[in-house]
Amino acid sequence: MKLPELQKKLISAARTQTVSDHVPYAFEKRVMAYIRSCPAVDVTALWAQALWRSAGACLAVVAVLGAVSIFTPHSTKPAPGDLSQEFEKTMLAALDSDYSR
């Protein structure tokens, strides 16, 4: 079977086919009713809503962190097992030993 020729014939067959542009009765009325029934999409309103929600979440996080920092007891001396102090000491150990010489 000659496939390219068959392809050409079938495409020609599709070209000869007329496509109907018939519109159902009162279709425009139906479309207008559908459009009126769909709520209008307001992109700015959607953005504003999303931003307000995220602002609320941010404020909640700030409040929790603030409360934690206020109510956690502070000591001026570092605790013996303070990780940050131990880390700093380890990192600067070489320098300390150089200066002490």
């Binding site: 000659k2 496939l3 067959a13 425009e28």
Partner: protein, 191 residues
């Protein structure tokens, strides 16, 4: 006095939704003809056209008026039809052994005497419809626009929103996909 398209669009943008109705009435035949190229069932066609008009109404603010409204609307229609094809990918594995008698006769005639197989025959139209149904959505869109509607690559790029090289690549792949389907049909029937 009848209002011009530009006046109607301006009125819709000012909030007068009723002014949209004359546009729907005027251009619905074009949109229906386009939708009928991609969908078979009348209920699906009506859904597509309704969707096109809803999008047109919602996106009317993006219509700049530097090109005719019809061109803008047809771009929306083609893209909506493409979305429909992607969303309703039918069972594209249907067998060619399900060919009807007239389709088989037409194919037999093509094999024995290719010149006598008339492209105006209904069987040929049914066969091409069957093949189009089995193409992937981009291949079907490209074959319809390029081969059946005889549009240029540039026009297709504008309608689909694809770049010109992408249209060319997809056209090449679509033809190959169609040849593969025809080969499968020949194999199913004659081997």
């Amino acid at each position: 006095m009848e209002r011009t398209e530009a006046e109607l669009i301006a009125a819709v943008l000012r909030g007068d939704a009723a002014s949209f109705e004359p546009l729907v009435e005027k251009y619905s035949p074009r949109v229906f003809a386009t939708a009928r190229r991609y969908a078979r069932r009348e209920s699906e066609i009506e859904d597509i056209v309704q969707e096109v008009w809803l999008k047109a109404f919602q996106k009317l603010v993006s219509f700049r008026g530097d090109a005719p409204f019809e061109h803008w609307l047809m771009r929306l229609a083609v893209r909506t039809c493409y979305d429909f094809l992607r969303g309703h990918q039918r069972n594209r594995e249907s067998m060619f052994s399900e060919l009807t008698d007239p389709e088989e006769d037409w194919l037999d005639r093509f094999v024995t005497q290719p010149e006598s197989a008339n492209e105006n025959a209904d069987a040929a139209r049914l066969l091409i419809e069957r093949i189009m149904d089995q193409l992937s959505p981009p291949a079907r869109l490209i074959i319809t626009l390029l081969e059946i509607e005889d549009r240029s690559v540039k026009e297709i790029a504008q309608l689909t929103g694809w770049s010109i090289p992408l249209v060319k690549v997809r056209a090449f792949r679509a033809r190959a996909e169609m040849r593969k389907l025809l080969a499968k049909m020949a194999k199913d029937k004659y081997l």
